[in-house]
Amino acid sequence: MTTRIDTRFATLKAEGRAALVTFVMAGDPDHATSLDIIKALPKAGADLIEIGMPFTDPMADGPAIQAAGLRALANGETLHSTIDLVRAFRASNAETPIILMGYFNPIYIYGVESFLKDAKDAGIDGLIVVDCPPEEDDELCKPALKAGLNFIRLATPTTDEKRLPKVLSNTSGFVYYVSITGITGSATPDFSKVATAVARIKAHTHLPVAVGFGVKTAADASAIAKGADGVVVGSALVEAVRKSLDADGKSTAKTIGAVTTLVSEIAAGVRAVKK
């Protein structure tokens, strides 16, 4: 089975460049604006889109993404409306891969089987669920693979040689290498270590490896693109949304442009690296 994610990475490999994976939070700052942001991302240079599923208790996220989730929840975003968001995006874009990223509880409460069916029907291609490690694969990972979705796993600096095969065993689409031991948006990674780590993962898998956590600028993106198949940017985009809001936390005329301008800059950084 080939998914949009597989196709996109294969195409970019043929083009000789890394992918830009952009993360934004569903419903941030409100449902309609986040749909407009997501619709604008491919043209700005996003090759794959990760959409955050807001959760009250995002234990692996830093302040920027925590706050984005709370803004979305305060404006009534739910997992149902997040799936609707992707359905609306798919009406005008059939190619860009969409990955939902978040935590297990809202999916568990939605019901795993109905969630997977609705997600697939809406045009969602993959899932990253932070608190579902390989030890809990029966819960969501295996049913997701069976439903035809990619299940993208995080590998971290603490994932040693012995553990890597276990982490990679039911992973599909790509591997998301978390470049620091820490929460999202915290530190800038040591780029020399990133390339070594990517090589270490690639020794165990044919899947593309995308690297995230700590990417803020075009220069960061270039540095990572040299050693990885994809560059993930999240907290910096979510911060761009926040800074564009008015005093009441509402979107302004600047909101969409703030995100697309930054995405364009970072995309240029990714595309500057020929492979």
Partner: protein, 406 residues
């Protein structure tokens, strides 16, 4: 009760994957997975090492003041006119609550693992004080995460922790209470994987924490069992304990789970009443979900977003419960009741006036239901109530609720 009849034992959990029936598990980010696997390995080794137990027992005896007395509450018994009520007096422990039992176990384990920095979450501050105490004793760096709201309402404990040399980090994310303190402690752990040990204060979190905390707290039930056999020549007929995350309760209950003649009652915090929505009764007013590394009963909305708990007692103010309690609830082995804020305040005064013991607001919840159950029992019914903390920390907030000290 059909499940109960098919089980040979209620004391064998969790299974090797950390599940109690369908509850528990290891729902954590990949960064933490290797750490909790290391912890599990280190704990398994320590558990089999007589030197570890000898060291822990020595600290129990000479530092904590164990065994804690099993005290016959004669005037409370006379007042109720039913069952004979005993109090397991863990409020007499060093630092004033049962929390130190678990903390000492975990800190001795952290030392064996070569960890030099201890982090903890705290709600009311009792677990934070116990952790800061043990860290002072062993010269370890201690960082305590505490919701900004709790920092405000538990000032004496904040001061205590600072006196003991701990760094207090007020947590301003989310609802700024215990669950957010736990999120922030997990974020710290993800960021400081090399030198840091996360000392969780209750029998919740990812495997092996619920098992490990239960084992360390089971000293309560083991002692109570021996003490009752010595005093009355037989086992008690009932046990009653309050439940937030549920560590004092599982500590008392666990050694008795396979004694079918012992009726066991856990008491959740009903706040303004379970029907009001403002409560902390995960079993009586929640449903199964996944948070903080384990599947258990949680308070949440229809979308799976975690709700804020409410209780007059900051120690019970948590929207979840340990996974073993969730399983004991579903199997029917333990009966889970609840007590409202105002009932707890009445019980707080009752025990103070009749026995000269000011309980913490947490066990006051247990006292309220214990008194009610005891009244329906014959005079030869033996009941043990876990008095898991003393009320010094609560006198100001109680005074506020009762309208002054006059």
């Amino acid at each position: 009760m059909t499940i109960q009849q098919t089980l040979n034992s209620f004391r064998t959990g969790p299974d090797e994957t950390g599940h109690f029936g369908n509850f528990g598990g290891r729902f954590v980010a990949e960064t933490l997975m290797p750490l909790i696997l290391d912890l599990e390995k280190a704990y398994t080794e320590a558990k089999a090492d007589p030197a570890f137990h000898a060291e822990l027992t020595s600290f129990h005896t000479h530092y904590v003041g164990r065994p804690s007395p099993l005290y016959f509450a004669e005037r409370l018994t006379e007042h109720v006119g039913g069952a004979k009520i005993y109090l397991k007096r863990d409020e007499l422990n060093h630092t004033g609550a049962h929390k130190i039992n678990n903390v000492l176990g975990q800190i001795l384990l952290a030392r064996r693992m070569g960890k030099t920095r201890i982090i903890a979450e705290t709600g009311a501050g009792q677990h934070g004080v116990a952790t800061a105490t043990a860290c002072a004793r062993f010269g370890l760096k201690c960082v305590v995460y505490m919701g900004a709201v709790d920092v405000e309402r538990q000032k004496p404990n904040v001061f205590r922790m600072r006196m003991l040399g701990a760094e207090i980090v007020p947590v301003v994310s989310g609802s700024k209470t215990l669950k957010d303190a736990m999120n922030e402690a997990l974020r710290d752990w993800v960021s400081n994987v090399e030198d840091t040990f996360y000392c969780i204060g209750t029998s919740a979190g990812p495997h092996p924490y619920p098992m490990m905390v239960r084992d360390f707290q089971s000293i309560i039930g083991k002692e109570a069992r021996e003490q009752m056999l010595e005093r009355e020549g037989r086992l008690p007929d009932s046990l009653v304990a309050c439940i937030g995350g549920g560590s004092n309760a599982i500590g008392l209950f666990h050694p008795f789970l396979d004694d079918a003649s012992v009726a066991i009652y856990g008491v959740e915090a009903a706040g303004h009443g379970v029907a009001s929505g403002a409560h902390a009764a995960s079993l009586n007013g929640g449903r199964p979900g996944v948070l903080h590394g384990n599947r258990t009963y949680l308070l949440m909305d229809a979308d799976g977003q975690i709700a804020e708990a409410h209780s007059i007692s900051a120690g019970l103010d948590y929207p979840g419960i340990g996974p073993e309690h969730a399983w004991l609830h579903d199997t029917g082995r333990v009966t889970y009741l609840s007590t409202t804020d105002s009932e707890a305040l009445e019980a707080f005064q009752l025990l103070s006036k009749l026995e000269g013991i000011i309980p913490a607001l947490e066990p006051a919840h247990a006292i309220a239901r214990a008194v009610e159950i005891a009244a329906t029992k014959p005079k030869d019914h033996l009941m043990i109530v876990n008095l898991c903390g003393r009320g010094d920390k609560d006198i100001f907030s109680v005074a506020e609720h009762l309208g002054g000290m006059e």
